[in-house]
């Protein structure tokens, strides 16, 4: 696998929502989306297996999203990876590595237009040392309460797709 190649694609239907503060499923012109609130952090969680042709170059997560109503302001996205290592990780509790962030990214100029924003992970501990062929979860969060940067966009952020590629 070469740099820039797509490894996995998640859609809103792949979401396995956490028990609390979950992004809610919604539709926009028959497109399934996940709504992330503007005032409090909400999360979506996607499970998968890192393809065996991952070559150790790190991961780039691309979020395709829309503003529910806004056409200005910034959104702060965060992501974290949880590795499920053979005979080591106990899934009775969460073990996500630290969140990485997109920083404050601008809302698309028109509500309904898609924005493409990325979050990167270097190979190793930054991605919970996830290795090719291993099960994992990817958490996506909107940092609506400005913990890591200022999220100023009014209204929901609607997540349409998540692409994971080799950096």
């Amino acid at each position: 696998m070469a740099s820039g190649d797509t490894l996995l694609v998640f859609t809103p239907l792949h979401n396995e929502p956490p028990a609390a503060n979950y992004a809610q499923v919604d539709q926009r012109n028959a497109h399934s989306v996940l709504d992330f609130d503007a005032s409090s952090d909400e999360e979506a969680v996607f499970g998968g297996v890192l393809p065996r042709n991952y070559a150790g170059g790190g991961l780039t997560v691309t979020l395709v999203w829309m503003a529910s109503t806004a056409n200005s302001g910034n959104v702060v996205w965060q992501a974290a990876i949880e590795r499920h290592q053979d005979d080591i990780d106990d899934l009775n509790s969460d073990s996500f590595a630290a969140l990485n962030g997109s920083g404050a990214v601008a809302a698309p100029s028109t509500s309904g237009e898609t924005g493409y924003d990325t979050i990167t992970f270097t190979d190793g501990a930054d991605m919970d040392s996830l290795a090719a062929g291993e099960s994992f979860r990817l958490k996506i969060r909107r940092d609506a309460d400005d913990t890591s940067a200022t999220d100023s966009m009014a209204g929901d952020a609607e997540l349409l797709r998540v692409e994971v590629k080799e950096t």
Partner: protein
């Protein structure tokens, strides 16, 4: 987004196309009341022109979930022992067995289910309503939200851990639901049979409950190098190269 109903404005969804017309059947739905005083209806099938010819699942003033049947005036109730809390999403599950007995389960808690050994199906049912009772009498409109309504024409087990899953992932003894309306935003439609629901008095929308949907398969991309090709080309597994 789920469908939100205001009882003060008599808001509900309705159809005269019935997905089930007899026994057995099972219904499931998510609901969230804002104020359950005086009873709030989740779903009902019956004769809109009769006062007592219907079945209905609704929340009692005491917070218990009730599965009530009336057939030409006679019938009975099955009430859960556990209760709901306003402004919290809850899961309703009710069976009407071929034998005529009924069960109602709140939040997958079978230990506190309600039962009734002898009920009867409405004799002249002609409407299904979501958010109100099908009767010419008091309609007990919902004050709150309803989502993920499904109806099977068979028995479906209620398991505590299964209520998070979308109804399409629950197989009845006769297969998938006959009727499934996720009620996402204003998509007022049964996705199985295509039944269109009429929105009466403009119900609105509210955030959807926590549900896991049937997911499309994941297709990892693969790097395939064709013999003699100057560059690698890529395709999603399962698609033509």
């Amino acid at each position: 987004m789920a469908r939100k109903f205001n009882d003060a404005s008599s808001e509900d969804l309705s159809t005269t196309t019935l997905p089930v017309s007899g026994l057995p059947f099972t219904i499931q739905a998510w609901f969230r009341t804002h104020d359950h005083a005086a009873g709030k209806t989740i779903v009902s099938i019956g004769d809109i022109d009769a006062t007592n010819d219907y079945w209905t699942v609704f929340v009692l003033t005491n917070g218990k979930l009730r599965f009530r049947t009336r057939s030409n005036g006679s019938g009975g109730n099955a009430d859960t022992a556990n209760t709901i809390t306003d402004n919290v999403w809850h899961h309703a599950h009710a069976h009407f067995y071929a034998s005529g007995s009924t069960e109602v389960i709140l939040d997958g808690d079978s230990a506190n289910k309600g039962t009734n050994s002898s009920q009867a199906y409405p004799v002249a049912a002609d409407e299904l309503r979501i958010g109100s009772r099908v009767t010419s009498g008091s309609r007990y409109y919902m004050d709150g939200e309803i989502a993920e309504l499904a109806i099977w024409d068979s028995f479906v087990g209620a398991r505590l851990g299964s209520k998070i899953f979308n109804p399409l992932l629950h197989q009845g003894t006769a297969g998938i639901p006959k009727f499934y309306a996720p009620l996402i935003r204003d998509e007022d439609q049964d996705r199985i049979g295509g039944i269109l629901l009429a929105a009466n008095n403009t119900p609105s929308v509210a955030p959807h409950p926590r549900v896991i949907f049937p997911a499309p398969p994941l297709y990892p991309a693969q790097n395939i190098v064709a013999a003699g090709a100057p560059h690698p080309y890529y395709y999603l597994a399962g698609a033509a190269a």
